[in-house]
Structures are given as structure tokens and as C-alpha cells.
């Protein structure tokens, strides 16, 4: 951007909330422009001088952050209507004024901070791990084919940021659908040669409450995932796997 076309300041409209049960309200802030700013640095500028555009002194808006390189998922928020990470939301590339809101699908803790516990609970529910603990050395596990490792690695990029849940029309207060992220982890752990030994347990978990049946195929998740994870393919793979599992359960085969 040339020197002349740079704005002197940028405006942010933040949806705030003082506590979990407090009513939401909006506050507008004017932040001096610096080159290469992102939403986090704009929020830091507000924190240094928590005064609204109208000149009223206020409390600094709260948000969560950690890695600042889009691998931890902590700074997820709704920026100009789209859920994404604040750290990779560059000010120069955003429409002004910039509207920041918390991801309302999750319980709001304060301002832009949400409680993503439901995702971690879902990971426990679907057993998104490989049980190898025991009283003796189990020895080396079976090898994984390189071709499989390559696509499984893509699934492992999930950072539980919650963007796919925020975009999903079926994840809301009226439904208990766990959302795309934990489902995709079932595909990841079932693809692992050692993890596959507990395949049926994970499939049974997603055939239970809040499981894969809640997916309505709006396919928003795959469009918004910041890591480009093929979430809808994972869900389709699991649709096939659960249909197979339900046939095996009903008619009886390998597990009887």
C-alpha cells in the first residue's frame, strides 16, 4: 500500500459481554493504524488505551490467544461475520469497520472469550486416543502405509478451534450434535493401525447421542476450516463405516 492511501486509524466494533449471563452490548473503538497489523495487535492497542471512539473510558475487551501462528485455535472469534483466528486476520485485508463478535455457538465467558469445553468433552466421548498403556511392553505396533499417513496427517492438523462448529447450522442450543471436528478425529484414530483395534468402540460412540446422525450435510465446515481439513469427506467415510458397523452389529459377524 502506498504511503498516501494508508488510513490514519481503523475502526473496530466489538460485541462485548461482562460475564456469562450478562447482556451483550457493542462498543466502537478507533485504533491508530500501523503497517502489517492483525486483529490481535489492534486488540492490544485497545488494551493499552481502553477508550471508545466516543471518548468514554471503558474496560479493555478480553480475548484469548496463545500461539499467534494459527496452530492453537485459542483466538477464534467471528470477524466480519466469519469465524476465524484473530492472529491470521490481517487488518489490511479486512473490510472496515471491523466487526468482532464471540463465537456464539459456545458459552460466552466474557467479551470475545468462549468456553470450548464441549469439544474436549466430545473428544473424550468418541475416545479420540489410542490406548497403549499396560503393565508390560507391548512391543512395536503395526506399520502404517505412507500413502495413508499422508492423508491422516491432514486430519491431525485439527486444533479444536471451534470454527467448524460455529459455522454448522446443526450445532446449536436446540441440538446436542457434537459437530464436525470430533467426528473427523474418529476417522484419524480409526485409520491408525493400532487405533484400528478399537475401531468399533469409536464407531459406537458416534452412533450414540450427539453423534454422526446430527450431520445435515450443509458442508459449511469444510468451507470454513482454517486448516483445510476434508471434514465432509471424513464424515462421509464415517457414514459408510457406521452403516457397515450397524449391519455387523445387527446381523452379527466379526464381533460375535
Amino acid at each position: 500500500m502506498s504511503e498516501e492511501s494508508r488510513p490514519k486509524s481503523i475502526q473496530l466494533i466489538i460485541t462485548r459481554q461482562d460475564g456469562p449471563d450478562a447482556p451483550p452490548y457493542k462498543e466502537t473503538f478507533e485504533v491508530p493504524y500501523r503497517p502489517n497489523m492483525n486483529v490481535i495487535s489492534a486488540l492490544m492497542a485497545i488494551r493499552r488505551n481502553p477508550v471508545t471512539a466516543g471518548g468514554k473510558k471503558t474496560s479493555p475487551p478480553q480475548w484469548e490467544m496463545n500461539c499467534l501462528e494459527e496452530v492453537c485455535g485459542a483466538c477464534s472469534m467471528v470477524i466480519n461475520g466469519r469465524p476465524r483466528q484473530a492472529c491470521t486476520a490481517l487488518i489490511d485485508k479486512l473490510e472496515k469497520p471491523i466487526r468482532l463478535e464471540p463465537m456464539g455457538t459456545f458459552p460466552i465467558v466474557r467479551d470475545l472469550i468462549v468456553d470450548r469445553s464441549r469439544m474436549f468433552d466430545a473428544l473424550k466421548q468418541v475416545k479420540a486416543w489410542i490406548p497403549i498403556d499396560g503393565t508390560y511392553d507391548l512391543g512395536p505396533g503395526p506399520r502404517m502405509a505412507e500413502s495413508k499417513r499422508q492423508w491422516a496427517y491432514e486430519l491431525s492438523k485439527c486444533m479444536t478451534c471451534g470454527v467448524c462448529l460455529e459455522a454448522c447450522p446443526n450445532v446449536n442450543s436446540k441440538s446436542d450434535f457434537m459437530g464436525p471436528a470430533p467426528l473427523s478425529q474418529v476417522r484419524l484414530f480409526n485409520a491408525h493401525p493400532t487405533g484400528a483395534m478399537n475401531k468399533a468402540e469409536r464407531l459406537h460412540a458416534i452412533m450414540g447421542p450427539g453423534g454422526i446422525a446430527g450431520c445435515g450435510n450443509s458442508q459449511n465446515c469444510v468451507q470454513v476450516c482454517p486448516k483445510g481439513i476434508p471434514l465432509t469427506t471424513s464424515i462421509a467415510v464415517l457414514n459408510r463405516a457406521t452403516v457397515g458397523q450397524s449391519f455387523r452389529d445387527f446381523f452379527g459377524s466379526d464381533n460375535m
Binding site: 454422526i212 445435515g216 450443509s218 459449511n220 468451507q223 469427506t233 467415510v237
Partner: protein
Amino acid sequence: MEDHEYGLHRLHSLLGVIPIGLFLIVHLTVNYQATKGADAFNHAASAMESLPYLLFLELIMIYLPILFHAVFGVYIAFTAKNNVGNFSFFRNWMFVFQRFSGLFLVIFLAWHLWQTRIAMALGTPLNYELMVHALSNPGIVIFYLVGILCAVYHFSNGLWAFCVHWGILVSPKSQRIGTYVSLVIFVLLSYVGIRALFAFI
């Protein structure tokens, strides 16, 4: 109900195609006979009416599946939080249309059933004349036009969703080609349904 969520959703998906979807195709095909004149339609309709144990067939193949599909479908439609405003992707629009067309069909089918099958049970003969009379009102013609388009859309898009939910279409490529196929089915069945509708006017 939570424990049976998976089974109920899959049953809902299956019943939409077999028998409801198949019945829709048969129904629209019978209607299409009206383009060949009143006699051809009356002949096709009476052939359907002459099936043995008709009421039992209707109950098992049509009424009970549609009743379950409608009740569970309304529940599904009202548990969604539609968000095409912020996420105006093609599939998300299809998702919303699927829910709205389904809700409209509940109203449309209740009316349609009252005007035809229940009237027939109460003694009015179900023939070409009945439909000509019913469609003499332009408001009803529009109502039927929207009803037919909703039914055909709900079936075509639902067939795609069935193929995904039952694990037939898995790869992104197969899902994309499946979308094109469902679009072709939508166009062809709409042609059949709308030509048949205008044969009564």
C-alpha cells in the same frame, strides 16, 4: 429417543427414497398420462385403484412412511439454526431449501390428500374432472405448482443426501457428480410434473 437417534435418522433417510421417492415417480408418471387426454389419465388412475388390498398397500407404502418422514422431518427442520446470511455456500442453500420445501410439503400434502384421496373415500370419483374442477382456481394452480416443485426438489436433493448418509457417495468428486445427477433428476421430474399439471387446465 436419544439412544435411537442414529437409527431414526437413517430410517428417515431410507423411507424418503424407498418407498416415498419411488411413489412420487409413479404418481407423477400416472399424472403425465393426462397429457394424452382425459381417457388416458382416467385409465391410468383406475389401474392404480384396481390394485389388490389397496388400502393396506397405501398404508404400508405411502401413509405410514410419509407420516413418520413428516413428523421426524419437522423435528429436524426446527433443530437447525439456518445461517445462509453469513455462510452463503451452495450446499448450505440446498440444506435450507431442503428444510423449507419439507415444511411446505407437510401443508401441501395435507391439502392435496383432503382434496383427492379423502374426497374419493367420501364418495367423489377420483378422475380427470375432479382435478380440472380443483385447478379451475388460479390460486390453487400456483399452490400446486409450488407443491410439485418442492416435492421434486425435496426428492432430488434428498436422494443426494441419502447417498451421502448411507456411505455411497464418499469422495468429494463423487459427491460433486452426485449433485449434478440430482440436478438432472430435478429438471426431468419437474418437466413431467409441470406438464401434467397444465394438462388439467
